[in-house]
Amino acid sequence: MLPWLSPMLQDLLVEAAWQTLFMVGAAAGIAVLLGLPLALLLQATAPGGLAPSPAVNRPLGLVVNAVRSVPFIILMVAIVPFTRLVAGTSIGTGAAVVPLALAATAFIVRLFENALREVDRGVVEAARAMGATRLQIIAKVLVPEALPGLLAAVTVTLVSLVGYSAMAGAVGGGGLGDLGIRFGYQRFMPEVMATVVLILILFVQGLQSLGDWLVRRLSRR
């Protein structure tokens, strides 16, 4: 495999690929776990929602927007104390997951919120008319009805995370992007850069196709 790279570079490439996979997977996992409840909360407290409450909705929306406004490379450095608190260290692949997860959560919350908003209000009303509780409406109506949209949001987030993870080198996170910068760019090795870009393209394509396939399978519309 890849005869144009030295055995050492091949090892580095494999290691970097695993690091990217780990950072993207872990950050996306955390983002989904945190983002779905937050999106449901935002959706429920919005005007006309299940439990309208501007006192919850506005500050929460503000925080989400604030995190989204900060360029990732700055966010990563700016929250170093927080990262140290959570991960015990501020450098390395594990530490890079913290800012990645934070950025991805803020990103996915809005996408989830949009997907939830797409659910027909009439269906929610019908559930209310049948005596469903708010939790039942969330668990049995909002989430299942929005599932294709939620999955599409996860796909978009995964793809964006692949891009973000390329900046993880700034905090010693490693990964494919970092390898491309350090070897392909700084050491003038175009074959490394080309290989990294190729793998990233295949990676993103794979994610997108998988996501689309799942959405199609789950969509009953």
Partner: protein, 367 residues
């Protein structure tokens, strides 16, 4: 027979005494609702009573407040003022849990069906049972009963996107009936359907109503729905009930101008334009009277017009007419121009009234 006796004697002793027959299933008192920022109230003091077992229609133009009104019955919309009593219970006074329990006893059918796209037909019908916490086996048994009731056995595992409008509404009806409600609310249930499917769904509702002894409250903007299905009707305009009564009465003797226009859509008997201007003037010593005669009951088939003409020496010119039936009650409405001596016309009018017909001057706007 045996099961009949069991049902009679198995009533638990703790159950509240059965409601007196005259107790209304739904009683709305002085409902008011004004949406923030709206120039006029959606409901401006509406009071209605729907008797147990009757089909009550509320008809009105869009914006008349019908939708708000029907959504007040299960408190999807909370009125600013007024009482909502369903089966003797004031729903505006119960807490959240009590309201959810009450809602399970009130089925609702929607204009746009409001089915869950992610669930099959069976899953949609089972939804209210799932919400009520029924075990799976009982849910499945109930779904198996309901599917043939609405004629959807073959579509059990289909998804809403694979169904026609009429089939979707059948699912909506089965879902509304799943928890055996005593009351069914229909929110423009046929307005999104084509005429043929509308007739089909109305037929189904009529059949179910008789079979399940349901109390039905429906809103519609189509008088044809009221004529086909309802026992009583109320006409809503600008958030107020402007007229109500038995469908037969309202159709044959509409009072308010809005009601007349609604009725004319279904049993139009307006005098064709230009007819009155073209009528010959009365001869010397004669008068010309424009009359509206309503035949109802036993005389709807009698040859009253020619008999009156012969007996009183009148010329009777028929300007417009219609023979129809509401439910099993036939009726005829006729617009006449009567020519004759003033005394003869008056005598003929009295004679017809003596037969039980309603004779009145032709109302303005119908000539």
């Amino acid at each position: 027979m045996v099961s009949g006796f069991r049902m009679m004697f198995d009533h638990p002793a703790t159950e509240a005494p059965a409601a007196v027959a005259t107790d209304p299933a739904i009683r709305l008192t002085g409902l008011r609702r004004r949406f923030p920022g709206a120039p006029a109230p959606a409901l401006d003091g509406v009071s209605l009573e729907v008797a147990a077992g009757e089909v009550f229609g509320i008809v009105g133009r869009s914006g008349a407040g019908k939708s708000t009104l029907i959504r007040c019955v299960n408190l999807l919309e909370r009125p600013d003022a007024g009482r909502v009593e369903v089966l003797g219970r004031d729903l505006t006074a119960v807490d959240e849990a009590g309201l959810r329990a009450a809602r399970r006893g009130i089925g609702m059918v929607f204009q746009h069906f409001n089915l869950l796209a992610s669930r099959s037909v069976a899953g949609n019908i089972a939804f209210p049972l799932e919400v009520a916490g029924l075990p799976r086996a009982e849910r499945e048994a109930r779904v198996a009963e309901l599917l043939p009731l609405v004629g959807l056995q073959a579509k059990r595992d289909a998804y809403p996107a694979q169904l026609s409008g009429g089939q979707k509404q059948r699912v909506g009806i089965a879902r509304a009936l799943a928890s055996r409600p005593a009351i069914l609310l229909c929110d423009e249930a046929t307005s999104a359907l084509d005429p043929e499917t509308t007739a089909e769904i109305l037929g189904l509702l009529r059949e179910l109503r008789a079979r399940l002894r349901l109390t039905v409250l429906l809103i519609t903007h189509e008088m044809a729905v009221v004529k086909a299905l309802c026992d009583r009707v109320a006409v809503l305009e600008a958030g107020r009930v402007i007229e109500q009564g038995r469908v037969f009465e309202v159709f044959t003797r509409p009072q308010a101008p809005t009601t007349r226009r609604f009725v004319a859509e279904v049993i139009g008997n307006a005098v064709p334009p230009g007819t009155l201007a073209a009528l010959p003037p009365p001869g010397p010593g004669e008068v010309r009277r424009l009359l509206r005669v309503l035949f109802a009951g036993p005389h709807s088939t009698r040859a009253v017009i020619s008999e009156a003409s012969r007996r009183f020496g009148l010329d009777l010119n028929i300007l417009a007419g219609r023979i129809d039936a509401i439910g099993a009650e036939p009726f005829g409405i006729m617009a006449l121009a009567a020519y004759g001596a003033p005394a003869a016309v008056t005598a003929a009018t009295g004679w017809m009234q003596g037969l039980g017909l309603t004779v009145e001057p032709l109302p303005e706007g119908e000539g």
